[in-house]
Symmetry: C2
């Protein structure tokens, strides 16, 4: 059987399967925080990164969450306007801005985290321990492939 004339079985094609999966799961989760907190996905992601890691620059958020820098820029603006984070310029290098959640931001973050834990444990509870282990192992494997790298902040190649 000549491979080049065989059709592509989408149900076996990794990019297809992954994005179909990821989109439905992320959408499902997004419904929660969209409805209850009026947040967009990029905002949620930036908030989550800052909540977990403390102080970050926009560039670091880009790298960590693999989002485009304009997305991050706008998410950060939105969070800032709501008073959920504040910005602090680096004294030494005044291009750099450190971002950090405010009191209010941290309170929101705590609520969101509860949602997330709930969501995760709902998913987990539909799997056996062994299945869960398989899932985690698989994702770990894929993450190491590092096919990675949305262009987050790089200059154009010459």
């Amino acid at each position: 059987m000549n491979k080049s004339t065989a059709p592509l079985i989408l149900e076996q094609f990794l990019p297809f399967r992954l994005s179909r999966l990821s989109e439905s799961i992320s959408l499902k989760f997004a419904q929660h925080y969209k409805r209850e907190f009026g947040m967009t996905r990029p905002e949620w992601r930036a908030l989550a990164a800052l909540g977990q890691l403390g102080t970050l620059t926009s560039t670091q958020i880009c790298q960590h969450s693999n989002m485009h820098k304009t997305k991050v820029s706008r998410a950060v603006q939105a969070l800032n306007q709501r008073g959920w984070l504040h910005r602090k310029r680096d004294k030494a290098d005044r291009r750099i801005e450190y971002l950090q959640l405010t009191q209010i931001g941290r309170r929101r973050y705590t609520k969101l985290v509860a949602l997330a834990h709930q969501f995760q444990s709902d998913m987990d509870s539909t799997m056996s321990a062994a299945e869960l282990a398989t899932v985690n192992e698989a994702i770990r494997i894929l993450e190491q492939l590092k096919v990675n790298g949305v262009s987050t902040n790089k200059a154009k190649p010459t």
Copy 2:
């Protein structure tokens, strides 16, 4: 340790991990067909579904690939304008349109499939057989969760 005050470890949170993964992998693959065939992601997906499954309606493409119906509608228009598919109304129920690839469409499809197989085997070759099995098994598990369902074509709930 009270869970409700613990931060969320994004590196362990399934929706986050999946979408980070999926986005970088899909983007990587998209670069190929975008550059070489000038196709968008929805177009590629519609083409792939039709190539594999033969004749489909727009609604079926929605369900199969979990894309929003307007996305599919526009992708189908684009493919149609390029002469890659043709539409045929159902005689009995004239709301329904059967979509099918043309000669040209099938030729394009064949080329795309070669790209996809290449991509897949590149990925596969960076994993051991056991790892590959784990990955496939994990995705299978997640697919069964069926947290599923982008609203593709449903009427509003009353």
